[in-house]
């Protein structure tokens, strides 16, 4: 089911986010913590750079031979007793899942958080088919109660403070109490969800990795909700993007070592599970049927494109956690499913470049995302490529095009450029009236609407001071 993107309202949404004290508090509490944890994990892992190299090369290799690995995986998974389905589009993937639920005569469906599921609009499709959908990931449970979308790919309810969660649980869990401690909130959710695991007819999960040579599906969680969702219902359905393949378990081991460290600063998540087929003779648990839906939904288009490196992404969110823009505006401002640097590249794929044209521009090109990416995706290069396309496709608004055109004429003439910089640096100092930051730029009020401009330093432009030997 096609989901509604509001990425075309990025500017208003970002502006609104900056003025929400609860969101600012939640962002501040969490991103600082995640950055510190990641730094600690890598300080203790001397082999980080070589592991990151290997992780990056493994992903490159798989993309280069994606057809081989898809067929290999299909053969192995089928041999293990799974049924493999293919979906060209998001809608086709949702239709396959809904049909499988109907065939199972399902009433209740439990779900493990999967960003692909969110991307293809699976929650909406399940709701639309009249199924009782139960999100089992704690954060997704919170989002489901609040009617919110994920604001972060690893911690989807990052935008919520404990006070807000307490308010949601008070009613939904039927105890009417105002809980203050986070531990007690978690216990409240545990009790509410336990019954649902046993009630569900179908469990739906995603995949962190698909192991080509064994046909296994690998998931990682800390909560253990994935296993309860995948083991208890009679039917288990996996939806996974076609880029999730790895050659073998040993290759997965390399990627697993960087995934948990990059995401949460952990050496390994609490649970790492490899599922290979449905229940076997003699087994006392496990689903009777296991289905795997391999989803394209724009990925093959990216594969043919210079943006292909984004398909290496393992959804660790390190780029998001270290993005100064995300740290200020949070996830919902991006108006899609993916946020921050990786989201600015993926949302144009999932929605359209026209609809997402503000996202690649909401980037300072500081490159922290590139430094922390565990599979070495050149995010800032990809964002620059998208900016070029936005320009070429004339998606930029007219005043900006006109302004940039003029700027282009000036910078190509060094003497003129120096003269213009000299005049504007002096004019801006007068305009600033001695303040260190300019709140509103003359002639460019739109630019300073959501940011401040530093007042030029005294002593003239950089080039003037350089000539005088001051720089």
């Amino acid at each position: 089911m096609t989901i509604t993107y509001t990425s075309d309202h990025f500017k208003e949404q970002a502006h609104q986010a900056l003025g929400e004290p609860n969101l600012q508090r939640a962002l501040d509490r969490t991103t600082t913590l995640l950055q510190a944890r990641r730094a600690r994990a890598y300080a203790e892992f001397e082999e980080f750079e070589s592991t990151r190299d290997a992780a990056s090369r493994i992903k490159d290799h798989v993309l280069r031979h994606l057809d081989h690995y898809l067929e290999r995986f299909e053969t192995a998974a089928t041999a293990a007793g799974c049924k493999v389905h293919w979906a060209r589009t998001a809608d086709e993937a949702c239709a396959i899942v809904v049909d499988l639920c109907k065939a199972a005569r399902a009433q209740t469906v439990t779900r493990v958080k999967s960003m692909l599921g969110e991307e293809i609009g699976l929650p909406e499709a399940l709701d639309g088919a009249g199924l009782e959908r139960v999100e089992t990931d704690l954060a997704e449970h919170i989002n489901q109660l609040a009617g919110d979308r994920p604001s972060h790919i690893v911690i989807p309810a990052l935008h919520k403070t404990r006070e807000e969660v307490s308010e949601l649980f008070r009613e939904a869990h039927g105890h009417g109490r105002r809980i203050e401690e986070v531990a007690e909130l978690v216990q409240s959710a545990r009790l509410a969800l336990r019954e649902k695991y046993f009630k569900a007819d179908v469990g739906i999960s995603g995949a962190n990795f698909l192991i080509a040579d064994t046909g296994s599906v690998c998931t990682v969680t800390n909560e253990g909700n994935a296993e309860l969702t995948m083991e208890l219902p009679r039917v288990h359905i996996v939806t996974a993007g076609i880029e999730k393949l790895v050659p073998s378990m040993d290759h997965a081991a390399v990627l697993l070592r960087v995934l948990a460290r990059s995401a949460l600063g952990m050496e390994i998540t609490q649970y790492t599970t490899f599922l290979t087929g449905p229940r076997r003779p003699g087994d006392r648990d496990g689903p009777e049927e296991m289905h795997i839906v391999l989803v394209d939904a724009g990925r093959t288009e990216l594969l043919a494109d210079e943006l292909a490196p984004i398909l290496k992404c393992i959804r660790c969110a390190a780029c998001i956690n270290h993005c100064p823009v995300y740290g200020q505006i949070g996830g919902h401002a991006y108006g899609g499913i993916y946020q921050g640097p990786m989201g600015s590249v993926l949302t144009p794929m999932a929605a359209s470049l026209a609809k997402a044209k503000d996202l690649p521009h909401a980037c300072t090109l500081n490159g922290r995302c590139v430094d922390v990416c565990p599979v070495k995706i050149p995010l800032t290069d990809l964002i620059r490529t998208l900016r070029e396309r936005i320009w070429q496709q004339q998606l930029t608004d007219r005043p900006t095009r006109w302004g940039l055109g003029l700027w282009g004429q000036v910078v190509r003439r060094p003497a003129l450029y120096r003269l213009a910089s000299r005049i504007s640096a002096r004019a801006l100092r007068v305009w600033a009236r001695g303040k260190p930051m300019i709140k509103r730029l003359p002639l460019d009020g739109a630019w300073t609407k959501s940011r401040d401009f530093p007042t030029p330093e005294p002593g003239g432009t950089f080039m003037e001071r350089y000539r005088r030997g001051e720089r």
Partner: protein, 216 residues
């Protein structure tokens, strides 16, 4: 054209070049993890069991560990754990016959696990020193749910089965079919979903107590 053929055709068109043969691709894949010590933490010469205990009891993994001189000491150790927590005599147990047949008379061992079971005892076929991880392959003897439903998870592992790295544990399955589910358990069910605070006992166990059996 079927969805399958369409997706594969799109992939091939995107890649442009004619596909390499499977042998070449496999050789390339094998060369990607040639020197395992460059892509995993080097463990110093300390004993794997010592390292496992250090990791499993760290503040990130939060398990408790007890080392038993022989399998015969297992029932008493379990009994004492239950007494310490005032948990009653009932334990849902998933053990291989040789451990199931020990003298459990003082306890009420059951082979099924209830949805709100308090204590589960299960057997890990291997453990990983690198991260303090237990390895549970599913089988009729040890179903997966024994690691997930109870609030207290007691896990038994033999000292000889504690291996240095993940890859060593995977190696045990080379040449035979993978179990239906292979679960690596590192600590207890936890969440950091509310304000990044680590809380234990999210959906599954809040306590993990590991009993290491030395050979006898």
């Amino acid at each position: 054209m079927s969805a399958r053929d369409t997706v594969l055709a799109r992939v091939r068109r995107a890649l442009g070049e004619p596909p390499s043969d499977a042998k070449t691709i496999e050789a390339e894949a094998a060369a990607l993890v040639p020197h395992l010590n460059e892509v995993r933490p080097r463990l110093d010469d300390s004993d794997a069991v010592e390292r496992f205990i250090e990791k499993a009891t760290s503040d990130r993994v939060t398990a408790t560990v007890e080392r038993l001189p022989s399998p015969d000491a297992l029932p008493t150790a379990v009994h004492q754990y239950l007494d310490r927590g005032d948990l009653g005599p009932r334990v849902a147990a998933a053990l291989p016959p040789i451990l199931r047949d020990l003298h459990w008379d003082a306890l009420e061992l059951k082979d099924e696990i209830d949805r709100n079971e308090a204590v589960a005892l299960s057997y890990a076929e291997a453990a990983i020193a690198e991260t303090g991880t237990l390895v549970f392959p599913s089988s009729p003897t040890v179903p997966t749910l024994f690691s997930f439903l109870a609030l207290h998870h007691l896990a038994v592992v033999r000292a000889d089965d504690i291996l240095p790295h993940k890859e060593d544990a995977y190696q045990r399955f080379v040449g035979r079919a993978l179990p239906r589910s292979l679960v690596l358990v590192t600590g207890t069910s936890g969440t950091a979903d509310i304000e990044g605070q680590n809380i234990r006992g999210a959906h599954g166990p809040r306590y993990l107590h590991i009993l290491i059996l030395d050979a006898s």
